[in-house]
Symmetry: C2
Subunit: 251 residues, 2 copies
Amino acid sequence: MGGGPRFEPVRAVRAYERVVEQVEEAIEGGDLTPGQHLPSERELMVQFSVSRSTIREALRVLQARGLVRSRPGDPNGAEVLPFSPATLHKSMTTLARVAELSLAELVQFRMVLDSAAILLAARLRTEEQLREICEAVEALRAAAEEDPRGFGAADVAVHDAVARASGNKLIQICTDVVRSIVVKLVAERIADDPDRRALMRRSIRHHEEVLAALRAGDGPLAARLLRKAMYDYYADYVDESERSALRALLE
Amino acid sequence: MGGGPRFEPVRAVRAYERVVEQVEEAIEGGDLTPGQHLPSERELMVQFSVSRSTIREALRVLQARGLVRSRPGDPNGAEVLPFSPATLHKSMTTLARVAELSLAELVQFRMVLDSAAILLAARLRTEEQLREICEAVEALRAAAEEDPRGFGAADVAVHDAVARASGNKLIQICTDVVRSIVVKLVAERIADDPDRRALMRRSIRHHEEVLAALRAGDGPLAARLLRKAMYDYYADYVDESERSALRALLE
DNA sequence: GCTAGTGTACTGGTCTGACCAGTAGGCTAC
DNA sequence: GTAGCCTACTGGTCAGACCAGTACACTAGC
């Protein structure tokens, strides 16, 4: 590539960013593990030789990234947090709002990820995990009859058990995040549905069919049934013009 | 729900959080659109009746969430940014590090999402999009012969064109984010591979096969070929014990 | 002895006021 | 008309102060 040194544009790096970087490295490098505490702000300002404002701005950034949490009065400093998908959830939620993701896109994403999860679960699940899934479906059936308000939560539990059984943490987290967004979007509309009971019955039948395929080890069938079930469940809430994009996954 | 009002736990809400909330709502509600500027910090401290420290902490949080950017000396205040997947990328990267995602999980995720993208693209693509994909593959072939260092970038361009043609922004963004993480993880190992040239040739053959299936409108075939191609490309870098999880997607 | 209450020395959250380097844009001198 | 300066801002940083709250050692009462 053409001679001469290629200079990179330098951006002024602010003091609080350097603080963020150092703490971030310490956490990702394992020098600071979840549960441990940072020094107090006044101690940090000595260690970094910056003012407390700078320290505090750095802490706000770290907190926004979900790495630490500070609590007033804590004699120790800010606590290092274990990873949680909360910030991933947050950024994906604003993505959904700001980038104007349609319900159809979100549901389509769920159809892809959840069906992949069950395909994997069908092949890789342990006996223990299968048992958990069966119990979750059982609880779903019970919820439909006894406490319809708990139906949504029970449904989430089933899908989460399947996602866990897929053996892929990333799939598990992403299905969780997107699911909660979708659920939130359609929650009120479903609650108002006059045929809510019929919907629940059909949903349970679908879950049982998928479970049967899962037990039989037929991953592709389970995945196909799940996509179909999800389509049936959400199609009514999706704009007519976008429904074809969902049907493209039904083969 | 047994009688009596159900009180929700109140968490002390800090001043800067209220500022963040209000600005966030204004942005998500469309009152503030990308390109517009917030009032200056000193003006904001009057409007919110808080001190500048509080305003600044709020701005740091908003900045960490990728919603605004402030530039020293700007006579206007902080600029409202258009959405970018940067923060999603950031949180997923720390997820990969802190939650200890293995390369296998990341590749598996790519196999799922990219194959879903091409399945959708096969059915929903426009002629224009098909042309873009063909051109990207053509550029890939050229890169392999003329400028091997550009091969990686050309490969990215192909996958991105396919993701765009899927018609699902969420798929597009997620494939992009995860791809860049995977690429970074294996970059040096691939660069050191003595058989790099052979790898590129095989990769091009795979791309062409997938493209042929895409042109023929055979989405499932294209998806299957893509998963196989991706498996072949990455299998060597994945721990032996985890390879079976990847093979579970090859049916 | 042990417990219940008090004190105290911290913590984080917020405020005030100040300084600096830098930008933008009007103004002036040419 | 233009090139240069000047001023009035901006954000970044610092210093020092106060408050409400927590944790923990200490003390008074049993």
